[in-house]
Amino acid sequence: MKKLSARRRHPLAAVVVLLLALAATGGLYAAFAPAGKAQADETSQSLTIKEGKKLYEVGCASCHGTGGQGSSDGPSLVGVGAAAVDFQVGTGRMPAATSQGAQIPRKKNIYSQAQIDQLAAYVASLGAGPAVPTEQQYGPAGADTAKGGELFRTNCAQCHNFTGKGGALTKGKFAPSLEGVAPKHIYEAMQTGPQNMPSFPDTTLSEKNKKDIIAYLNAVNGDKTENPGGLELGGLGPVSEGLFGWIFGLGTLIVVAVWVAARTAKAKKS
């Protein structure tokens, strides 16, 4: 992941991250931190980083090294940026289970957003990288859904399927389903390229492009997405359609045929 952001060390990135983290922590930390211990008035940039460092040492250092320099069990986090941390921890992929399969799956996130922000702030302090995107970047306002569809089919559908239902990669790896993934996390994934996913930096897939893609996904794979024809059957195409047709189409017709051809009950002999 260090590679991804090699050329994304914008001088202001770290500052933006920290400011963001600060703003978020101001409100959230107070809410999540145990009452009594919280000292909201002491929040500051260094405090956030310090808290993040504590969390890092407990949850991450065993694999990624005490200073984020990486080890045989985990890549270096220097320069991956806050966006990568927000994505990895926010989708529950990090911290990963010790025995990893082909790839680290999405699971229930065990950190609060405030803690994630602290972690992100700490990792961002190790070396600048992409910042966590703002609502304005991934929100629906001003997005072109149709253009997003075209971009999605060019850049994303080959792994994630037409409407983001996911698909197979080599040797047990897979592109996960994008159903129910927060727009922020989709944005961060495109930006940072987690695990085997390639990144789509702003230089080749502009901010507007990303916004369009997120809007398209929301239109075709959101809670309110209409499937005018009825059951979506997983959105997987002909395999599930074929199974459904055999079982419920032909199956029903065979049941009907059994009824049509069966003998009518005879009167009981008395």
């Binding site: 082909a102 072109d144 859904t145 149709a146 253009k147 569809g149 075209e150 089919r153 060019t154 559908a157 080959q158 994630h160 399927n161 037409f162 409407t163 239902k165 996911g166 698909g167 197979a168 990669l169 080599t170 040797k171 047990g172 897979f174 592109a175 398209y216 239109a219 075709v220 499937n227 005018p228 024809g229 009825g230 059951l231 979506e232 059957l233 959105g235 997987l236 195409g237 002909p238 395999v239 599930s240 359609e241 074929g242 199974l243 459904f244 047709g245 055999w246 419920f248 189409g249 032909l250 029903t252 017709l253 065979i254 009907v256 045929a257 059994v258 049509v260 051809a261 069966a262 003998r263």
Partner: protein, 545 residues
């Protein structure tokens, strides 16, 4: 004849209108002679005999809905910018074929329903033909005099597959376009003429601007026209041969037992048409099929994962996915075995089931008519061959969906592919052996049932303390049904020297046939059915067990 009939009715002056109309028609069409033979035609009752009807009715439904769709579909590849009611595609470039399909789906009232009935109908139609064909195969209904009708049916299945494929390609969506691209690649792999065929089919380079229009006339005119002819021929032969029946009391090779066409089968078969149509309409109401709006218009540089054809092309897809990438370059030419071999295997696997009846007829040497169906267990080798064939077919279906299987069962796609590669060779052999054993076991059970009666489940304690299960002798109906199947003797080569001691030359084909015949009917390959003598000895000697 009709004149005199007319005269008599006129003299009475009061014949019902229907009768007069029939008389009128008979005078011109001779319908009475036709009706005499067919009006009370007998059809046996069995659910599996209705599978063919499922196909016939879904074929009619597909034609009806297809005609409706042609009223709105534009078979053109002209690029247009979409400005219809589906928002996530507005402003996108697409072919007229695609945009008119969107129009049918979103703007024509009931258009989506008809599209979905048409597509679900196609899925069920070909699935129905497959199951119908298997029913005919496993019961031996393909034997004389029905071999030609078997071929008609097989041709319908193959043509149905290609009609389905061309229809699936018409909307020019990203999924079907990927399928067409695959077809182009497969054609290119044909040695010597492949490149030319591809250029002639597509009017130049892929995708060009012609293939939708060409597929359209193939899909709505050429193939369905041939199929309609074959369906009519198939039905005429069914009427002419009269239906087969399972063995049972009163059923012989010289009769057919069942209900008359008028009224019972008229009502049942006619009603079944509505039942099939009703089920397909309900299916189209609740389940979405081929949502091209979510798939998007075709562009040769775009693709989605999970790119599969409809199920009936899944076998071909599996073959092509499992094949290793062999390619031979020589003298400035390329032999694309990695694509060409699967293409050939697709044909060979289908042909194997099509020619089987002729091979079996050759092995048995039986030239008599067969109207009594076999129970699959009583033809173990045939049943085992059929199951082995089905195994290959389904292994390849798994191969065709290997990515979906990998993601949904958390497997490695490479492992699934390797499984398919190995199973292609191993699984049919295992299936053959296991099926044959099961058949023979069932034959033994039938034999025991005939000789020792049915196990009643009642346990009796004998005076000396032994527990036995009471066996109840079978009724005569059951005895007859279980012993009425035919058993062949294996063919022998005969003496290798003639009566003068001169060595007789035995042709290889005769040797092969003797070998096959032995594999079919040899000692360990069928269980001799009980004879009257055996039965008498057991029942009279020691009636109790």
């Amino acid at each position: 004849m009709s004149t005199s009939a007319n005269e008599t009715s006129r003299s009475r002056g009061q014949a019902p209108a229907g009768e007069r109309l029939a008389d009128w028609a008979d005078g011109r069409l001779g319908i009475y002679s036709l009706a005499k033979a067919n009006m009370r035609k007998i059809f046996p009752d069995h659910w599996s005999f209705m599978l063919g009807e499922v196909c016939l009715y879904s074929f009619i439904i597909i034609i009806l809905t297809g005609v409706y769709l042609t009223l709105f579909f534009h078979p053109s590849m002209n690029e247009v910018e979409y400005h219809g009611s589906y928002v996530p595609l507005q402003g996108q470039l697409m072919s007229e074929a695609f945009s008119s399909t969107l129009h049918i789906s979103f703007d024509v009232r009931g258009g989506l329903l008809i599209r979905q009935i048409h597509h679900w109908g196609a899925v069920v139609f070909i699935a129905g033909m497959f199951v119908h064909m298997m029913r005919v195969f496993f019961t031996g209904a393909f034997r004389k005099p029905r071999e030609i009708n078997w071929l008609f049916g097989f041709l319908l299945f193959v043509l149905g597959m290609f009609t389905g494929f061309t229809g699936y390609s018409l909307p020019d969506d990203l999924l079907s376009g990927t399928g067409v691209r695959f077809m182009e690649g497969a054609i290119l792999s044909v040695p010597i003429v492949g490149t030319y065929i591809s250029f002639f089919l597509f009017g130049g380079e892929f995708p060009g601007g012609d293939f939708v229009a060409r597929f359209y006339s193939i899909h709505i005119l050429l193939l369905p026209g041939i199929m309609l002819g074959l369906v009519v021929g198939h039905l005429i032969l069914v009427f002419y041969h009269k239906h087969t029946q399972f063995a049972g009391p009163g059923k012989t090779n010289k009769n057919v037992v069942g209900m008359p066409l008028l009224p019972v089968y008229m009502a049942k078969a006619g009603g079944f048409f509505f039942l099939v149509f009703g089920v397909l309409a309900a299916l189209a109401a609740i389940a979405q099929i081929n949502p091209i709006w979510a798939i998007g218009p075709y562009r040769p540089d775009q693709v989605s994962t999970g790119a599969q054809p409809d199920w009936y092309m899944g076998m071909a897809e599996g073959l092509i996915r499992a094949m290793p990438g062999w390619e031979i370059n020589f003298w400035g030419h390329t032999l694309v075995l990695g694509v060409f071999i699967p293409l050939m295997l697709f044909g060979v696997i289908l042909a194997a089931i099509a020619v089987y009846p002729f091979i079996e007829a050759w092995v048995t040497g039986d030239k008599r008519e067969h109207h009594i169906l076999d129970r699959p267990r009583n033809a173990p080798t045939r049943t085992a061959f059929g199951v082995a064939w089905l195994t290959v077919y389904f292994v390849m279906l798994i191969g065709g969906g290997n990515d979906i299987f990998a993601t949904h069962f958390h497997l490695s796609i490479n492992a699934v592919t390797w499984f398919v590669r190995i199973a292609y060779f191993v699984a049919p052999v295992i299936a053959f052996i296991v099926t044959k054993r099961i058949c023979l076991g069932l034959q033994r059970r039938d034999r025991d049932k005939v000789l020792h009666g049915r196990e009643t489940g009642i346990i009796k304690r004998l005076p000396h303390g032994e527990f036995i299960e009471v066996h109840e002798p079978l009724s005569q109906e059951q005895l007859h049904t279980l012993t009425s199947h035919e058993q062949y003797q294996p063919a022998e080569i005969g003496p290798t020297v003639d009566e003068n001691g001169v060595e007789r030359k035995v042709p290889a084909s005769v040797k092969l046939r003797a070998k096959l015949s032995n594999a079919y009917f040899g000692e360990d390959n069928q269980i001799p059915k009980p004879t009257v003598e055996e039965y008498k000895e057991i029942t009279s000697g020691h009636g109790h067990h």
